[in-house]
């Protein structure tokens, strides 16, 4: 065993296998340790990293003539020594077999759903027609917030949210309501930095009022289960639920001032 560990060929082999295992299986387990979601390493990245490791090891092995000769030893003896005839024969079948299998796996017909690319927050129109009335979205402020009626609006908004929005967007506004798994794409979370925190209230109003059917083409309107809430809610109810959303999610809306800067 010791002679194996001291031998450059076996050292190289062990390092390659270990490196591959760490890249392929180890790295995905690191994020959960600090509380993040696990993410598998894409196969192209695994390939790239593994090749880098192999090249580095070959450079190391060949940088010293004595080590290089020792490194080549096992390969050479496998190729020529009569007593390794059986192993040689087995590998001569196994390795091409493996290559053939990988090739087959690459070329065989596979059926994946076509990718769905969509813009989550597409550019809003400059104005919309809400229940027959024209509303200019640009620079539009939440009238209830402007009038200082946030407490009352928040209470209304809470009722509206839990009666209407909760099945999909969830009790905790995390997009994980009890209906969420029934939809593809799944409903968006409303907490965190990526959603309403980076939007103006007028944008949120547009998304609530017009829903999936009101999305532009880049938003893949045919897939979105978001209702056009103007069918069920008045403008005041929508503005109220918006105030509640920001409050319950613990974030602030983006303001027009920031946009200008």
């Amino acid at each position: 065993m010791k002679s194996y560990l001291g031998h450059p060929f076996w050292q190289t082999t062990i390092v390659i296998v270990t490196a591959f295992a760490v890249i392929r299986f180890g790295i995905p387990y690191l994020p959960p340790l600090i509380g993040l979601a696990s993410a598998p390493v894409p196969s192209t990245v695994v390939f790239q990293y593994t090749v880098t490791v192999i090249v580095g090891l070959l450079v190391w092995a060949s940088s010293n003539e004595e080590r290089w000769q020792a490194f080549k030893g096992p390969i050479w003896s496998l190729l020529v020594r009569p007593e390794q005839r059986v192993l040689r024969g087995i590998l001569l079948v196994l390795i091409p077999g493996l290559v053939a299998f990988i090739t087959y796996d690459t070329v065989r017909p596979k059926f994946a759903a076509p990718p769905t690319l969509r813009s989550i927050h597409p550019a809003p129109p400059s104005q919309i027609t809400f229940r027959g009335e024209t509303m200019v979205l640009d620079r539009l402020e939440n009238p209830l917030r402007a009038a200082g009626r946030t407490d009352e609006a928040s209470a209304t908004g809470k009722t509206v949210y839990y009666q209407n929005c909760m099945p999909c967007h969830g009790d905790y506004l995390d997009g994980l309501g009890h209906f969420a798994t029934g939809f593809s794409p799944q409903p968006l979370p409303l907490r965190g930095g990526g959603t309403i925190a980076q939007l103006t209230e007028s944008f949120v109003f547009w998304r609530i009022a017009k829903g999936g059917p009101g999305l532009p083409r880049e938003g893949a309107p045919w897939n979105s289960a978001m209702p056009a809430w103007e069918e069920f809610l008045t403008a005041d109810e929508i503005w109220a639920v918006i105030i509640f959303l920001y409050q319950q999610a613990g974030v602030s809306p983006r303001t027009w001032g920031e946009v200008v800067e």
Partner: protein, 548 residues
Amino acid sequence: MMRRLEAAVVAFPAGLLGRTALAACAGISMLATLAHPARAQDGERGKLVYEQWCSQCHGLQGDGTGPAAQRMLTRPRDFTRGLFQIRTTAGGEIPTDEDILHVINVGMPGTTMPAWEALLPEGDRQALVAYVKSFYPPFATLPAPVPLTLSSGGRASDDRIAEGRLFYDSIQCWQCHGQAGRGDGPGAAELDDEWGNPIRAADLTQSWMFNGGSTADDIYRRLRTGLDGTPMPSFSDLLNAGFMTDDQLWSLSHYVRSLSPADPPQVQEVIQVERAARFVEVPRLASDERWDEVEAFYVPLVGQIITGDRAFDPAVTSVWVQGIHDGTELAIRVTWSDRSKSPDPTWQQLWQPRVLAALEPKGLGREPGARPDRLSIQFPAVIPEGMDRPYFLMGDSDTPVNLWQWRSDQTRPQRATGRGVNDITTTGPGILTSDAQWVNGQWQVVFRRDFEPNNAETELRFELGRPVPMAFFVWDGDSGEDGTRGAISTWYFLNLEEETPVSTYIAPFLAFLITGALGLLAITRARRRDRESAIGGTPAAATAASTS
């Protein structure tokens, strides 16, 4: 008393065990009360957290009448009666603090109650336990509840499962849960909970929806404790009366567990349609045994809450989809649990009016009546080239969809064109055929059609290897569902498997030959050089690294 328990929570937040011991030992917890006078603050915290996250369903007064409550058929729990479903204590007794915390932590699968463990800090959840208990004042005066001593049940085996089935019959589980466990028993239509609201008997074939957990241990615990506030009784008295042994109750638990798949089903985006063996017809009948050998794909359904009359608590929550084709003809079987073969006079009379009265929003002019069960499966009119598809909810005016409609009160299916939920025109069955059977609370419906449609202008033509978007809609008539009130899915993909073309095997074969040839070449060259070096005086192959 309540003071004491809360103080115990503050004193030993780390271990459940510590608190159980404390609750059972009044003397020590008195000391804890004295040592921690800060519990009033804890109560404030509980109220704050409750009002922010719980009151919308359970109500500000804890009576289960929050603004969202009436959109759920299994109503949020009213805490003022001291009745809790998921406990470790005997039937009719109050739960332990750990029991309440456990439900807050893991939620109640199959209901709207989420798992809060990852969402709220531990201290907040502990404070909630105390606050929830404050809605039922006897918590403060009743002696501390003692959990039942529960045995452990060993492994499931065919014999135990068979024994469990005998007791399923003899203690009449089927009265509510039905012969096959789908909640369709003869008594199921008139079940109500302690508050007079209609309640569905659990479908025992969907363990991932079990309110109190899906393992045999969970099931055994519920058989021992009962589900207080629901019609599900505790069976501990049968043990005490000597009617059945603890071991036999475990067998029953294993039997109930065996009714569901071992693992919860995974949702897959692509539904694969297998190719039938050559020259064999695709199955015509829903009961054809060949369906048993075809993979079934799980499709969760949710209520249509997007437009019109909305269904916040639909009766059907999933379908299983299978497909077989023979190169020219396609058969699709859709299977789902449905407690009644609508219109069933019993359910129409005993169940439907109560559901319609209980569920908000009421829906204009929606009266109880004879409604059939329905299934629609939806395709686009042509296979989309790019990413664009018709709107998943029955299309829109620009891009219509094809619908294959089946209903339980008619023998022939209908083809229809959808241009939105309110614009659907039927065009008769054409070459589309269907077959259906309802057995023990389960519908199985087969649609069958040639790849070539009646009308190539307006209908989809299937092609091998080109996935087609597909969506599902199901209505339970006896729950008062029809029109826009029903269960829906978004787009999935149906793929008709091709035969693997011969050309697929050419590249792997060539790869094998080339790699093999290179290997042989390497060996031949190495041996030649080895011989050459041997002539030069170096011992052959003995010092393997002699040449470079």
